[in-house]
Symmetry: C3
Subunit: 148 residues, 3 copies
């Protein structure tokens, strides 16, 4: 939006067009925040931050007792978020996977790929770490989405 405003300003200054725009300070390069639970503000984070066409999605964890269940749950949450922004997994540009057991995560490869039906995959890093926010969590994935 910022560039459109600037564009219009320049055009107006160039005497090319009569369109009037008002550049409100708080409308320039706005940051939009979308919360999916009341706990977010209590903890102090935002599930989805939108800036320009970019969605910065907080490290997302899933429900379940097995790695398979948690991975499925994470991607179902992401599918819901993508739907809220009228887009799909082909617009995920980056993933950062933290897991407590990378061999178990690797065994869910086929499942994970079903969430990319167009076979268009993000750039991705996978690392094994000590633990996540809650001890029972086996995987946490951070996403970046580029809206069309």
């Amino acid at each position: 939006m910022k560039f459109i405003y600037t564009l219009l300003t320049v055009i107006i200054f160039s005497g090319c067009a009569g369109i009037q725009t008002q550049e409100k300070n708080n409308a320039v390069n706005p940051i939009e925040r979308k919360h999916y639970g009341s706990w977010e503000k209590q903890i102090g984070y935002t599930q989805v931050v939108k800036v320009g066409n970019r969605l910065l999605i907080s490290g997302t964890t899933g429900e379940g007792d097995t790695m398979e269940e948690q991975v499925k749950s994470v991607y179902q949450t992401i599918e819901k978020i993508l739907k809220d922004y009228h887009t799909d997994s082909s617009r995920i540009v980056k993933e950062l996977v933290f897991t407590k057991d990378i061999e178990a995560f690797k065994s869910t490869m086929a499942l994970r790929k079903t969430f990319f039906p167009q076979k268009l995959y993000p750039s991705s890093s996978w690392v094994q770490v000590d633990r996540m926010f809650i001890d029972s969590l086996m995987v946490e994935i951070e996403f970046e989405v580029e809206l069309p």
Copy 2:
């Protein structure tokens, strides 16, 4: 800036305006680097890299013997950086928290939230890892800021 240059070029080519611009190669999409200590170049990193409206802030660590002290120190450093760029914590869009003890980090939640007085929080991922650059460091946080 790049878009402005392109814009002007297009307008000029369109015969709409008489404004002249010079497109210097090194001025297009410049990367600005800000160092906060001489050790940065010795180690080989830059504390703050600015590209467009984005500030990419290196994993920041803090001084102190307790998690509380280190967390406070990290955010005081970030406050100083934000001030240097004439902005505040509401423009932090992303955080990536690495800590050696996530339970200890969670116990500083109230303290951390005081650095977000507008209650506008970034997207955030928190993971527990083995260690940071120096063994005594308990927490390291990477930030991304979107300037207004």
Copy 3:
């Protein structure tokens, strides 16, 4: 590109110019993916995702039996990628280093700096984690590049 299209559209609507553009849906804000091996699609990731001027490079690992060899191999791969996009290490804006042994990684500091001959370094975070995709890997580095 998106801004150029929008720009032209606005100019056309403003009656300033006669240039015609076609706004193809798939041409607006395109995501370009570059694969460097057939295993990427099998695993489900993309080595380099290009969006706008940004290159998002997947966590890159290297060959070799020592930390020194693996670090050298990682940066040689990155040099090749940078060359493919007609740029160099001065356009790396962000690095995220995961290593199994941060002291060993620190000992390769001088070697790593040779890949930044212009002494223009990215923002960077270095953390020690449990392990990477394959157990023998000692280091994995994620990169973001801003093309000129």
